[in-house]
Symmetry: C2
Subunit: 144 residues, 2 copies
């Protein structure tokens, strides 16, 4: 796999991340994560997973379910620094077997540039209310 290509920028890592997710490609997925004990992955409604081994194990279980998803990414907000880039995106996830079911999710993705190029170090995804209700003036439904 052309790691030199997919790790050339934070955006390239993000593109590969969602490509791996749509293809249920575990090797591609894990090639874009930093091999680090501090990396974090939170799947929608799931527990917080820490470290490369735990994160790989969770993706393996997800991909083994055999479901294939179509994912539309939109509304990018980003913060860029020399060695770290944060992307906040909205994910519209559709099961290919049930394309009429769409789950809106917001994901905060963090990428860090290291000796090996750019890698994902954090993916935090959680369900959000349907998109029409996402407005800057709406009161959040929250505990805090």
């Amino acid at each position: 796999m052309p790691k030199t290509k997919i790790l050339a920028s934070a955006q390239d890592v993000e593109n590969a991340f969602y490509e791996a997710l749509e293809r249920a490609d575990l090797e591609l997925m894990m090639s874009i994560w930093a091999d680090d004990e501090e990396i974090v992955c939170v799947h929608p409604g799931g527990p917080r997973l820490i470290g490369y081994v735990a994160i790989r194990d969770a993706w393996r279980r997800i991909f083994e379910n055999g479901n294939l998803f179509d994912i539309h990414i939109s509304q990018l907000s980003k913060v860029t620094t020399p060695f770290a880039v944060m992307h906040s995106v909205l994910e519209e996830i559709r099961l290919r077997s049930k394309a009429d079911l769409m789950a809106p999710v917001t994901a905060t993705n963090l990428y860090v540039r290291g000796a090996m190029g750019w890698r994902m170090v954090s993916h935090h995804a959680s369900p959000v209310p349907p998109l029409p209700t996402e407005t800057k003036s709406e009161a959040p439904k929250v505990l805090h």
Copy 2:
């Protein structure tokens, strides 16, 4: 307010963030966020909020509810770069009026160092299963 003190490091910003949350102190809360249109805040179960104005408005509404919380932060995982630091924490949030009710939340907090010192640029909080179920081998309950 001693901004020079609370903005001296990412950890200092995080300490001030949770202090502001426990005190329902809107001015302290907003003093630790970057004044930027790209900053992101996701409250548990709420919509994604982008930009200083929207984030301030949401915190104002939350604090105006009059609820006071006790928050216990634990299980920090962090990724550090020269200009950006990511903290992943577990928040145990208790309403002071109902201390027996605890909502476990995981939060991904991103801090960036700029000309004005360290500021929060992203806070993504979402509910997680009860802590005992958070193990590195558990299959996440997820769409993806």
